[in-house]
């Protein structure tokens, strides 16, 4: 069985995001970029599934500019077997990403697709669900535990009311939550070996997939600065302010 795991190149989680001067987006030039942390968890889970003997091959996939190769190499250094980059300089929306992944799913026929539940840049949380709809594969989102049970998977999901356990039939898409696992560090010899692992680059045009966008970004702004706090005299004043000023109760 093959596993496809999605790895997105995003602004490093340690970097403070800054809006571009023309408000067209976030400044990404000359800032540190890394693998989306949720995707690291997806890579880790894929590797654990393979190490437990439940999969034969882990394919790390990214969609983005040529620099996304570095993100794929990081996944290869962690232990993925090969990589595929669908190269594009456009910022694609989740639907276009889901269509491109569907293209790869048709080609590779994986038993599992592991994706981060969302990327920390846009926080869209849509790609996995859309890919499920497009491909007809089962979906288990926000996974915090994945167990194999014959040709089925028992997945524990983190939902608002607590934990939900579901069974899904493979092929399936799993989107990973924070508590699923703790990603490994890449070992030095594996970082060196990653250079020699196959990495296929497909120009987005060659996929024949329509990636046109139905949305346009009007403006990106910094969140408003938080006003200074005040100390209230008593509970009555607190309730009054919550009700009449903040209008939250």
């Amino acid at each position: 069985m093959k596993i496809i795991v999605g790895v997105k190149r995003v602004l490093d989680y340690n970097v403070k995001a800054r809006v571009k001067a023309d408000k067209s987006g976030i400044e990404l030039a000359n800032v540190k970029m890394s693998m989306n942390p949720f995707d690291e968890i997806a890579v880790e889970e894929a590797l654990r599934i393979k190490e437990a003997g439940n999969a034969d091959e882990v394919i790390a996939v990214s969609i983005g500019p040529v620099q996304s190769q570095e993100t794929i190499r990081t996944a290869l250094a962690m232990g993925a077997d090969r990589g595929i980059l669908i190269e594009t300089n456009e910022l694609l929306e989740p639907l276009a990403i889901a269509k491109l992944l569907k293209h790869l799913v048709d080609r590779e026929q994986p038993g599992l697709v592991l994706l981060g539940k969302q990327a920390i840049d846009d926080d869209a949380n849509q790609t996995g669900q859309m890919l499920s709809a497009l491909s007809g594969m089962s979906q288990a989102t926000f996974a915090s535990r994945v167990e194999f049970d014959g040709d089925q998977l028992k997945v524990t999901r983190e939902v608002d009311s607590g934990l939900e356990s579901i069974k899904v039939t493979m092929p399936a898409i799993i989107t990973t939550d924070l508590r699923l696992n703790e990603p490994r560090y890449a070992k030095l010899p594996n970082i060196m070996k990653a250079k020699k692992k196959p990495l296929e680059i497909i120009p987005v045009a060659d996929t024949g997939v329509d990636v046109s966008s139905g949305l346009s970004v009007v403006e990106v702004n910094e969140p408003p600065r938080r006003a200074a706090g005040i100390i209230v005299k008593n509970v009555a004043e607190l309730v009054d302010k919550l009700r009449n000023e903040a209008k939250v109760i």
Partner: protein, 594 residues
């Protein structure tokens, strides 16, 4: 705040200043391409920042503990060490035939800086193993290599250097530990002190490299031999067997590096510890120098590594702490102490000196890399001379400045810096050993004036200065006023250093040079650091031509180089004046009058 490795700055020095691309052209170093090295630096940054750095203050507070011959490392250290070796960090530059990665020394030095910034007490264990591996690899028989190296390279076993005895510190001629021949091995008896990681609970075996005398040995340094003495004797199948007669009888209570156990080792309390001769009898000291050159460079890296941590802490505090009306703050929300000009001075001094030291440390390592692998024997010899000349500067100057910068780091914190809780004091306490072990600053200075300058008639120095002048000639062709402003400062500094060199080479007696040797070392450290900053500024000015270049980052390199030229290079001239005038007066007072 914890530690974030300056990956971008380190990669800049490797790629743009010391010529990693040229090193990756050399046979055996083909792997060391810029993208691979960056991937290594990134992963090392993650590991050191997330695993080693958080254990630094735990290590300081708990320290390693001795009880009945056993040493227990602080909470979390065993697990961190397990991960460290599992991820292969110990074997970076070791020979591939024994399981290492065979990467250049400059890459290994870049990674090691991060160990020491994150946690110097921890970094000492693999540092010592590295020295022992080098000595075995260069000088021991194939049989001994096969028996010990694979597990030491993997890090399952650690190594130590056993030189010092109570009466034999800087003067190793006084070593008394004895080795009696006993068939295919020797029986070692005696006591060694200050043995870093002589005993601990991180590895299943500890391989001691021990200096001792044979019964028929001539007196002095020509009668010392080097032995491998394992804590556990090694079985035929390579597993650790019987306990050898070597024991840790106590550990020292120290100013800093509390987690690094500094051991008193006793050999042969029950008849003699079994040891195996490395190389030939009576050649031990020369072999030990293989370890020491490597270790001296590594301690220099500690010097700027720990200063980098102190700098990060200081700059973090300066951004946070509000005090007084600042002269540089833009508005009332911008009144952190970082906006006081004098705090800027401290931070600029720390930052620029660290970058100069890092440049020198990596340039020295790169020189050794070229010396090892270049096809042209003339280049090899020249770069070997260069590496050896720079080693005492890296060790002596970077550690002296490391202590000074860690002290400045405390100063930025004001009263809070003096409080242990803040953590700035630990850097200063930990840094303090670096000017002492692996040869004090005076020992480095003697090496510089004697072996490295006087012995070759100043040839290595002349080559170094010629290379500096050619950098200046390149800068002169630039159209950048900031970078060009470095020129007059560098030129005056070089002239001043040359006067001091000429004076030194004209001396027939060692007494006067010995009185100014440390000043001579500091002068050349500052000058060589200035050269590295000039090279960084030159590279930055060229890269700036590209529109996609990170202009802010490159501008910062140029401003830091300029600051260094204005604030540090004039000290080269005052050092030269001191050297030319103060030797006689230094020793004018009778010792009884002191």
């Amino acid at each position: 705040m914890t530690y974030v490795a300056p990956v971008k700055e380190i990669a800049f020095v490797l790629n743009q200043v010391v010529g990693l691309a040229d090193i990756a052209e050399l046979e055996g170093f083909e792997e060391a391409t810029a993208d691979l090295v960056e991937a290594i630096l990134d992963e090392s940054a993650k590991f050191t920042g997330e695993i080693l750095a958080p254990l630094n203050s735990v290590g300081d507070q708990q320290g390693s503990q001795w009880k009945e011959g056993k040493v227990t490392t602080p909470d979390g250290w065993q697990e961190a060490y397990r991960q460290f070796i599992e991820n292969g960090w110990g074997s970076l530059s070791f020979p591939p035939e024994f399981g290492g990665q065979g990467l250049p020394m400059c890459v290994s030095a870049a990674v090691q800086e991060m160990w020491h910034s994150a946690n110097m007490s921890f970094g000492l264990c693999p540092l010592l193993t590295q020295g022992a591996v080098d000595a075995i690899d260069h000088h021991a028989s194939d049989e001994l290599k096969q028996r010990y190296l694979p597990k030491m390279v993997e890090g399952i076993w650690s190594g130590t250097m056993n030189l010092t005895e109570p009466q034999a510190g800087s003067d190793l001629a006084a070593v008394r530990t004895r080795a009696e021949p006993a068939g295919d091995h020797y029986l070692i008896t005696g006591q060694k002190i200050y043995i870093t990681y002589g005993e601990h609970d991180l590895t299943e075996n500890i391989i001691h490299m021990v200096l001792a005398r044979l019964p028929d040995a001539p007196a002095g340094v020509k009668g010392i031999s080097l032995f491998i003495v394992p804590k556990f004797l090694v079985n035929e199948d390579g597993s650790p067997g019987e306990r050898n007669d070597v024991h840790c009888v106590s550990i020292e209570h120290k100013l800093g590096i509390h987690a690094s156990p500094t051991c008193v080792m006793s050999y042969g309390d029950n008849g003699g510890a079994i040891g195996y001769l490395v190389g030939k009898e009576h050649h031990g000291l020369a072999y030990m120098f293989t370890m020491m050159n490597q270790a001296r460079h590594a301690v220099g890296v500690e010097g700027y590594g720990i200063a980098e941590r102190a700098y990060q802490k200081a700059v973090g505090y300066a951004r946070d702490r509000k005090q007084g009306n600042t002269l540089l703050g833009k508005d009332e929300d911008d009144q952190s102490i970082i906006n006081h000009p004098d705090v800027r001075r401290i931070l600029m001094s720390m930052r620029s000196t660290i970058e100069a030291m890092r440049g020198l440390g990596l340039a020295c390592a790169a020189a050794f890399d070229v010396a090892r692998r270049h096809p042209d024997s003339n280049v090899r010899e020249r770069m070997q001379r260069r590496g050896e000349l720079l080693t005492p500067l890296v060790k002596g100057w970077s550690t002296e400045m490391g202590v000074e910068l860690c002290s400045l780091g405390v100063q930025v914190h004001g009263g809070m810096g003096y409080i242990e809780e803040t953590g700035a004091a630990q850097m200063l306490r930990d840094a303090r050993i670096t000017t002492i072990y692996e040869g004090t600053t005076a020992i480095q200075a003697n090496d510089l004036i004697g072996r490295k300058t006087a012995r070759d008639g100043g040839r290595g120095m002349a080559e170094l200065i010629a290379d500096m002048r050619s950098t200046l000639a390149e800068i002169a062709t630039l159209d950048d006023s900031h970078v060009k402003a470095i020129l007059p400062r560098m030129e005056s500094a070089i002239d001043a250093a040359e006067s001091a060199n000429t004076w030194l080479l004209s001396q027939n007696d060692a007494t006067l040079p010995a009185a100014i040797s440390v000043e001579f070392l500091m002068m050349h450290g500052r000058l060589a650091g200035g050269w590295m900053m000039a090279r960084a500024a030159l590279a930055a000015a060229r890269l700036k031509q590209s529109a996609e270049a990170d202009q802010a980052f490159l501008d910062a390199r140029i401003i830091l180089a300029r600051y260094y030229a204005e604030r540090t290079l004039p000290l080269v001239e005052s050092s030269s004046t001191i050297i030319l005038n103060s030797a006689g007066i230094t020793i004018a007072l009778d010792s009884a009058q002191l």
